[in-house]
C-alpha cells in the first residue's frame, strides 16, 4: 500500500512537470498555430545550458539559473524568427516536419557537445530528501511541485491581466482582428516562443537535477502529446489537467504492472495506448473543440 501511495505522489509531481511542459506547448500552439515537436529539446537545451554553467564555470545556482533562462528566452526568439517565421502560411504537414527537423538537429547537437551519457547536476539543496506526511520525497521534487504551481499561477495571471497576455489571447482568437487593433502579431509569436522555451527550461533543469542530464530528457516532449490530447489542444488549464492525468496514469500502470501483470515497460508505453483509445472515441481529444469547416 505504501508503494501505491509513493507512486501516486510521484505521479502527481511528475504529472505537474508534464503539465508545465504541456502548458508551454499549448502556449505556442495557441498563439502561432504551430505544433512544436521540438518541445522536449527545449528541456534538453535548458538543462544542458544550466549544467554547463554550473559545472564548467562553477557558478552558483542562483546566478547560473537566471542566465539559463535569459539564454533560453533569446534562443526561443531567434528560433522563431529564423526558422519558423518563413513557415507562416505553409500547410500543417510542412510546419510539423520543420519542428521535427529541429528536434533531431538539436538532439544530435546536444549529444555531440555533451556526450551520450547522463551527467549529474552538482547538488543544489542541502538535504537531498525530505519527509512529507511520512514519505521520503526528494527535496527537488517538492521544490519542483512548488515551482510548477507558481508557473501555473503565473500563467493564469499573465493571460488574465498583463498586456502581453491579453494580446496573445487576442491573437489566438483571431490574428487579423488582433493585428487591426494594433497588436504586433510578430512580437506575440516571438514572445510565445520565448516564454515557452523559458518555462520548458525550468522543467528541464528540475528533471535534470533529479535524474541527471541526458538525451532522455527530450522524451518529455513526446510525453506531452498524450497530455495535450487528454486536455485539449487549445486549453491551458486542460494541458495542466492532462499532464497530471498522464503522470498519475504512468505510475498507476507501473504499479499494476509490477504487482500483477509483469509485462515490463508499461510505465513508458501505457499513455500511448490510452492516447489511441481516446482518439478512437473522440478524434479531437477529450476537451478539444471540434473544427467546423466550410468549403
Amino acid at each position: 500500500m505504501n508503494l501505491l501511495f509513493q507512486l501516486l505522489v510521484n505521479g502527481l509531481i511528475v504529472g505537474a512537470l508534464y503539465g508545465v511542459v504541456a502548458m508551454s506547448f499549448v502556449l505556442i500552439y495557441k498563439a502561432s498555430r504551430i505544433v512544436n515537436f521540438a518541445q522536449g529539446e527545449f528541456l534538453l537545451i535548458g538543462a544542458w545550458a544550466c549544467w554547463w554553467l554550473l559545472t564548467h564555470w562553477q557558478l552558483p545556482f542562483y546566478i547560473g539559473f537566471p542566465i539559463t533562462l535569459a539564454f533560453m528566452m533569446i534562443f526561443g526568439v531567434v528560433l522563431q524568427v529564423v526558422v519558423l517565421r518563413p513557415m507562416i502560411g505553409e500547410p500543417i504537414i510542412s510546419v510539423i516536419m520543420v519542428t521535427i527537423g529541429l528536434s533531431i538537429f538539436f538532439q544530435a547537437l546536444m549529444k555531440w557537445m555533451f556526450g551520450v551519457f547522463a551527467k549529474p547536476f552538482p547538488p543544489i539543496f542541502a538535504s537531498p530528501t525530505m519527509n512529507v506526511l511520512g514519505l521520503d520525497v526528494q527535496t527537488v521534487y517538492v521544490v519542483s511541485l512548488v515551482i510548477s504551481i507558481l508557473i501555473m499561477a503565473g500563467f493564469g495571471w499573465f493571460f488574465k491581466f498583463s498586456r502581453m497576455g491579453l494580446a496573445m489571447r487576442a491573437t489566438a482568437f483571431d490574428q487579423q482582428v488582433a493585428q487591426s487593433l494594433g497588436i504586433s502579431v510578430r512580437q506575440v509569436f516571438a514572445m510565445s516562443w520565448a516564454i515557452s522555451a523559458m518555462v520548458s527550461a525550468v522543467a528541464g533543469v528540475v528533471v535534470g537535477v533529479v535524474n541527471g542530464v541526458s538525451s532522455a530528457l527530450s522524451f518529455f516532449g513526446i510525453k506531452v502529446f498524450p497530455a495535450v490530447i487528454l486536455g485539449g489542444l487549445d486549453s491551458v488549464v486542460g494541458a495542466v489537467v492532462g499532464g497530471l492525468i498522464v503522470g498519475l496514469l504512468e505510475n498507476m500502470a507501473h504499479y499494476v504492472d509490477s504487482q500483477w501483470l509483469n509485462f515490463g515497460n508499461m510505465y513508458e508505453i501505457a499513455p500511448f495506448y490510452v492516447l489511441i483509445a481516446i482518439l478512437m472515441v473522440k478524434p479531437y481529444g477529450l476537451f478539444g473543440t471540434k473544427d467546423i469547416e466550410r468549403v
Partner: protein, 357 residues
C-alpha cells in the same frame, strides 16, 4: 503541395488519355527503359560498395514510396513508418522460419500481414487529420517498437531473428550482385503499381482527399474508406521494403526501427517531393548518399585543423543526424516541392529553351 501537379507553360493536353499516360513522351519512356537496362547490367561493372548502396536505395525507396502515397498523395501524415518497415522485416523472417514458406512467397505475405497491421492503426487514423493524426501515428510507432521488444515468439526479442537468404528454384540470391536483381525486380514492379494506381479512380480519389477533403466527401468519395486504404497501401509498401531489407541483411534486430528512422523516411519524401513517384526514389537516393558523402568528406578532412578541432571521426554519427535535420528544414524552407519539382523545371527549361515563358 498542390503545386507538384503544376504543368509547365507550353505543355497543352487535348485529350484525357494524354493526361493519364505514364510517360508523357516517347523519349521519357525510352529513357526509363534505358535506365532499367543500365541498372540490370550494373552488377557486372560495380563493386560491392556501390551495389550495397543501390540495394539500400531500392528497398528504402519502396518503403518511401509507400509513405509518399500516404503523405504526398492522400495528405495524411505518419510518423510511424519505420515501425511498419520493421514489422514487414520481422513478418517475412517469421513466416519463413515458422511455417517453412519459401522466401519468395514470404515477402509478399509479409506485405499483406503488414497491411493488416497498418489497417488496424488506420482505423483511428481515418477519422483524424493534421496534428491529431501525427500524434496517433507517433503512438503507433512507440507501441509497435514496444511490441518488437516484447514479442519473443515473433521477433526473437533482444537477440533478434535470422532471416534466410532469398532463393528461387534452388538458386540462392545470397551475394550483393545476385540480390540486386531481386530488389530491382520488386522496385520496378512496385513503382509501376504505384504509377498505375494514380491513374485509376482510386488514385484520383486519394488526391481529391488530399486537396480538399470536404469537397471530396461531397462529391461522393468515402473518406473513411480511402484514408484507411491509403494507410493499408502505405503499410504494404513498407512491409515489402522491410522484408527485402531482412533477407538482404539476413538478420533483423529489434533496435533499428526507431523514430529517427521514421523521420528519415519523411525526410526522403520531402527532399524528393511530396506527391511525386519518381521523387520518392530521388529523395531516397539523396538520403542514402548523404551519409556516404559526409563520410567521404570527413576522410578528406582527416588530419587537418578542422578535424582536430571538431574531432570528426568520433562525432560523425551525430553530424549525420544533424545533417538529416538541417536538410529537412532547408528543403522545407527553400524548396518545399523537392527534387522532383527542380528536375521538372530543368526539363521544362530545355524543352522550351529559347522562349521559356
Amino acid at each position: 503541395m498542390t503545386t507538384t501537379s503544376m504543368i509547365p507553360c507550353g505543355d497543352f493536353k487535348t485529350r484525357y488519355a494524354t493526361d493519364t499516360t505514364i510517360f508523357p513522351t516517347v523519349t521519357s519512356r525510352n529513357f526509363a527503359i534505358l535506365g532499367i537496362v543500365l541498372l540490370a547490367v550494373a552488377p557486372a561493372f560495380l563493386d560491392r560498395y556501390w551495389l550495397n548502396l543501390l540495394i539500400q536505395i531500392g528497398y528504402l525507396g519502396i518503403a518511401a514510396l509507400g509513405l509518399n502515397i500516404l503523405v504526398g498523395f492522400t495528405g495524411q501524415i505518419s510518423i510511424g513508418h519505420s515501425a511498419f518497415f520493421g514489422f514487414g522485416a520481422f513478418a517475412s523472417a517469421w513466416i519463413n522460419n515458422r511455417f517453412g514458406i519459401p522466401v519468395a512467397l514470404a515477402i509478399p505475405l509479409a506485405g499483406v500481414l503488414t497491411t493488416a497491421v497498418g489497417m488496424i492503426f488506420g482505423v483511428p487514423a481515418a477519422r483524424l487529420k493534421g496534428l491529431y493524426l501525427a500524434i496517433a501515428t507517433l503512438a503507433a510507432q512507440y507501441i509497435l517498437q514496444d511490441f518488437f521488444a516484447r514479442a519473443n515468439w515473433f521477433t526473437g526479442g533482444v537477440a533478434g531473428t535470422i532471416a534466410e537468404p532469398f532463393s528461387l528454384f534452388g538458386f540462392v540470391f545470397d551475394t550483393d550482385g545476385r540480390y540486386f536483381y531481386v530488389v530491382l525486380f520488386y522496385m520496378v514492379v512496385m513503382y509501376l503499381l504505384a504509377t498505375n494506381l494514380m491513374r485509376t479512380r482510386d488514385g484520383r480519389a486519394l488526391v481529391a482527399v488530399r486537396d480538399h477533403y470536404l469537397s471530396a466527401e461531397m462529391m461522393g468519395i468515402n473518406l473513411t474508406k480511402y484514408r484507411t486504404m491509403s494507410f493499408g497501401i502505405s503499410a504494404f509498401y513498407a512491409g515489402i521494403g522491410g522484408a527485402l531489407y531482412a533477407h538482404y541483411l539476413q538478420f533483423v534486430s529489434v533496435e533499428g526501427f526507431t523514430i529517427l528512422f521514421s523521420i528519415q523516411f519523411l525526410g526522403m519524401i520531402i527532399i524528393g517531393g511530396l506527391g511525386s513517384i519518381m521523387g520518392s526514389l530521388m529523395g531516397t537516393a539523396f538520403m542514402v548518399l548523404l551519409p556516404e558523402l559526409m563520410q567521404a568528406s570527413t576522410d578528406l578532412l582527416s588530419g587537418t585543423a578542422v578535424d582536430r578541432m571538431l574531432n570528426l571521426k568520433d562525432s560523425i554519427a551525430f553530424l549525420r543526424e544533424m545533417a538529416i535535420g538541417v536538410v529537412i528544414i532547408l528543403f522545407l524552407v527553400f524548396e518545399p516541392d523537392g527534387l522532383a519539382h527542380r528536375w521538372k523545371q530543368i526539363k521544362a527549361y530545355w524543352k522550351l529553351y529559347p522562349f521559356s515563358h
